[in-house]
Symmetry: C2
DNA sequence: CGCGCAGTACTTGTATACAAGCATCCGTCG
DNA sequence: CGACGGATGCTTGTATACAAGTACTGCGCG
């Protein structure tokens, strides 16, 4: 059956259309990660839809994705809630990122991409700029770790790490409100210097120290603000009265 | 403002209700991973809904989750397709699982959980049973690797690995149609013996060899069946005529 | 004052209707 | 015969309606 038109070959262009769901998803995710929506807060699909000016559909689909990331819990016929920070999940994320980031250091090529190296340098400079807000430092921190993975050719593994470390991030963000980031910035420099000099073992050691320090920081937070963390066994959502902490 | 009833404390029971979306999601995911829905196949929300006897809603929500896992691609106003196996994503999954599984071996406790050890033993026995189907071996393989992670207290990291290794699994499944699994089963035994004897370095070496062998297997597949793999740059979905491979 | 019980309001899950956009088909024209 | 162009059908995105189920509220009773 010969066809007149073969190879119409319409290469479907970019799939990144500005869709309503994407906007809602990003908004909600940001609010959860920045604790603007605190752990335990009740999320009503209807309320969110109304406040965001959309229907339930994109809101609901966004919540499904956030559930997948562990940032939200949905109880059928009961309600949706920002999940409390789960210490087990924090530890899982810590293990995962440590495994991934340390392993990537073993795959660093002999010749580092000069462009990436330049970006990382500028990034580190900014990290030491005085008067940096917590949010700014966080963004730089993310970019730095992502950049290191890219340097080893494993940049796409970062997406997996990101989607798994939501619980870790929320705890950290809270901690950085009090702990100044200078120490972490210095550790970043130490890691980077080792990477530049080709000292894989040194880079691994520095990275491990750094990540462990971040993790210990979280443990300290937990002692000061246990309300944000989940207790053992399933949490107890209460629909209205978001009594979360006191 | 005193309230009459405090601590109503209705602990919301299990959230694992048998929902329609869950069933659809699991069905679709299984069909994609087992290649019953081959890479490149067109998925119509309407058709799927009709054939599964539900409305578009649960189908659509399932597809969103599958997109998140990279198993499906959705092009707005064009169509949804089972994603072709992307060599880059296969490599990413390989890197991730290697990093995680090797790192977990470092965290093995001195005293191994005897119950888990027993399970793993039985698992390995079954792997060597003759007449094993590919699907059976796959299930055992998954259980074995998951069990090893549990042995080190990192069982929950398996979920992340699973959600990232869909592309790797599809390629492997195709390969195992021809390559008998005996070799892999023997490697599993070797890893397990090293773990039991507390030989972390040996276990790491054996595990690395094993995972690399699996990966190389995938490369061999690709040469024989390039149709299932994505070419460089964005794939070209065609709505009707699922010309996928000639 | 405390408790129990029924009604009500709200929740999420699912089904359906409508909107916007793209690919295909087929007639027309060169 | 080949190429162009508009009508048509199908696609996903979004909005809305309905269903099933739960928690909260307030009344009546002991």
């Amino acid at each position: 059956m010969t066809r007149h038109t073969r190879y119409r070959g319409r290469v479907t262009r970019t799939n990144s259309r500005r869709t309503s769901r994407r906007a809602v998803y990003e908004t909600l995710r940001r609010k959860v990660l920045t604790l603007e929506l605190p752990p335990g807060a009740a999320l009503s699909e209807n309320e969110l839809a109304a406040s965001l000016g959309v229907s339930r559909t994109p809101v609901r689909e966004s919540l499904i994705l956030l559930v997948e990331e562990g940032l939200v819990q949905v109880f059928p016929q009961v309600g949706s809630f920002v999940s409390r920070v789960d210490p087990d999940k924090v530890a899982d994320a810590q293990f995962l990122r440590e495994a991934v980031e340390l392993a990537s250091l073993e795959d660093l090529p002999a010749e580092l991409d000069p462009e990436l190296v330049g970006e990382l340098r500028r990034n580190l400079d900014q990290q030491h700029r005085p008067g940096l807000t917590v949010e700014d430092f966080f963004a730089l921190d993310e970019e730095f770790h992502h950049g290191l993975l890219q340097l080893a050719g494993h940049g796409s593994a970062w997406a997996t790490v990101v989607s798994a470390k939501g619980h870790l991030d929320r705890a950290r963000r809270l901690g950085l409100q009090e702990t100044p980031p200078e120490g972490f910035a210095d550790q970043h420099v130490e890691i980077f210097e080792a990477v530049l000099s080709g000292d894989v073992a040194g880079a691994r050691a520095a990275m491990r120290t750094h990540l462990r320090a971040v993790f210990d920081d979280v443990e300290a937070i937990r002692e000061r603000s246990p309300e944000l963390f989940a207790s053992a066994s399933g949490a107890v959502p209460v629909r209205r009265n978001v009594v979360v902490w006191e």
